[in-house]
Symmetry: C3
Subunit: 297 residues, 3 copies
């Protein structure tokens, strides 16, 4: 008996000791000049000191839900099932917008306002279920009087408890009634020998143009490396750029300061200038109003 | 005998394995462009690989002791007792300013120069004891010839050893003789139907005005949500802004681009423009020379 | 038998539980606005959840190999043997530049393109061996079609597996044939009562001038604290600054807004203005074309 219980004790401690760690990945539009992000991490640390908290970015442009959604889409595929993402870009804080946790088909969790932030990860990863956070049950104790920092008191608190296994996905709250808010954007399409798509984001550090046209669609134009692509870029209905750009495997395939078309690290069609800045040179922006048309010469 | 010693061995290993982790939270005015912050983290890692090092911010304006103190005040309450904070904003490095560790009544430790950095956390959390760092005992071995990077060689080294349990609080050094340096600032007061306070900091990312007037004081003006607050903002003796601003529970209670008064995430009286920037619009700054007067209409 | 196997099981679990953790230190020129750095961390987390990933900086100026090398030089000495550094500043991505892992004599590993990034750590720490990454064996599964993000798919993947002990240094790939690329720069020299050296970098946050003249060389000029140093700063062959600057132990030894010469935290000769910005005041830059000449009066 005694020995059995000692074994049991050892087993239990070892189990907790060797429990696979879960990652909590956070992004905000708070920047890193003030103490808000650190306060959120303190909340998580109070819940479970073993949690591994990773920053995605805290430099989402203020209130820019679209970009918040894009950054989740960009990073999420590289994390294992069970990872919990928290996105606090919340122009609607204090309004009646709902707070949700989306479980993707790939087993990731996204804790955000129900404002469309999950649009791109939903399309890319698939939705298994969306639950509405019950803020009576899932709110940092003592924070009831604070209306303005749901990121810390509701989202981080709920996400950390979910990641730590203190609550199950079901305990987040009931299944969301109706559909989550999803943003409208130009899906990539092939029409009569042309591909049309959207420019969701710029590769900001380098000024490269990223599109939502995946290699699997672009390849239907049968353009080989070394051949030119006929590229048109439009803002709403105005053509901002027209040109023939060589399709290259890599930047080094063209001379410095020359443009190239290539597949970026997500295997999406992109345009850049080798050792230069395409977006600045041709005044290209990104977002739902920017589109691109590709043709074979 | 043999079995007992095996149990003892297992117990000791399990104890070390399951020792609750301590957090080390660091802030500096170094920025993140160079390698100084990373070198500090290497020093901590050399002392204890289990330490969890969290950044507060490294973007304190250069030499701005007041803001350093404010960031500690903003983040510290969210961390558990035992957490060690290191703040390296040190215009007096190499002078005869002392180096201290302050233990708050809430059980947190603050490792900083004795230059007033601890002012706001002292007022908010209470001081249990202040010890002067004995730099002969608590200095990174081999760093004796370096006079200019106490942040790495004294503060981080001492903080990491304290957090790791390699030294006790008493082993930091003797109790500080006399009082620590505390900065002078306008405390919030209620006088004859008006509340006066200080604007310690701006919510820099959004341009919101944060004050040191807590809800518990502001509520004595008996202003209900929806009612206007008569707000005056002064730089020294000059009135910079006067206006009637509605008191709201949350940003969504007013139209876009309209001002509102609200309680921020620390439950302090604040002023903002919904989806706008109050500080830029009215050229409001922060610091000891900025004050605010609030009255009921 | 049974008891023995239980002990063995316990021993194995405890061993894994108490294995000393290895640090993985990363730097890039990606900035932190997008999701690229986080995706790299997800790759590491998938390989080993126990790995401790530390940022050096992600604000290396775009494609600036020299500065990347300098940041490694600045931070690496503070990390213990076994630490793995990854530097992804890679203007040559997709060209035939090689990918290497350098093992320093101090037992650190540096995973980078073979483009000179390792120059300064090689000179400071010594090279034990350089291996060329075999990208057929050491490449993130599923990433074969992506040509442009070696930082994530080759460098981070290889570095994380090396840090986690999933591959040995030998399994990185074969020893590099020939010498690694090393950049040419002005080594510090003593000639006829003058010391000449390079200005590798500015202390960007404060505008201080850092040189590669170590105390051990500078001290041969026999200048005592309080005595002036005759300082000339040149861009190529043009003299940009000439002056007599007092040699001080610390900033507080001179009045505010006055220049001083001092030893920085790496014990290298440096020039600054107390509470001011020397580089801005005298338009001093850094890099291979900037040099400094020091003489005793």
């Amino acid at each position: 008996m005694k020995r059995t219980s000692i074994y049991l004790f050892i087993f239990l401690v070892l189990s907790s000791c060797t429990r696979p760690k879960t990652a909590l990945v956070i992004q905000t539009d708070f920047g890193l000049k003030d103490g808000a992000v650190n306060a959120m991490k303190g909340v998580a640390f109070n819940i479970d000191r073993e949690l591994l908290v990773y920053d995605l970015t805290h430099e989402i442009p203020t209130f820019d839900i679209w970009t918040a959604g894009y950054r989740l889409y960009q990073a999420a595929p590289f994390w294992p099932a069970g990872t919990v993402f928290v996105s606090v870009v919340d122009p609607g804080v204090g309004t009646n917008r709902k707070s949700i946790v989306m479980q993707s088909a790939s087993g990731l969790f996204f804790v955000t306002p129900d404002d469309g932030t999950i649009t791109l990860v939903s399309d890319a990863l698939g939705i298994t279920a969306v639950r509405e956070i019950d803020e009576h049950l899932n709110r940092r104790p003592g924070s009831e009087g604070s209306f303005t920092f749901h990121g810390r008191d509701v989202y981080m608190y709920t996400a950390a408890r979910l990641a730590a296994g203190k609550i199950s996905f079901e305990e987040v709250g009931p299944l969301l009634k109706g559909k989550p808010v999803l943003l409208d954007y130009q899906k990539p399409i092939l029409t009569d020998r042309a591909v049309k798509g959207n420019i969701p984001v710029l590769d900001v550090q380098y000024g490269n143009i990223w599109t939502n046209v995946h290699d699997s669609l672009f390849s239907q134009l049968h353009i080989q490396p070394g051949e030119p692509v006929n590229v048109q870029i439009l803002y709403k209905d105005s053509v901002v750029f027209v040109g023939h750009i060589p399709y290259a495997n890599t930047f080094g395939d063209v001379a410095e300061k020359k443009p190239l078309a290539y597949l970026n690290s997500l295997m999406n069609f992109s345009v850049a200038i080798n050792m230069g800045n395409f977006a600045d040179s041709f005044r290209i922006g990104s977002g739902k109003d920017w589109s691109i048309i590709l043709k074979k010469e």
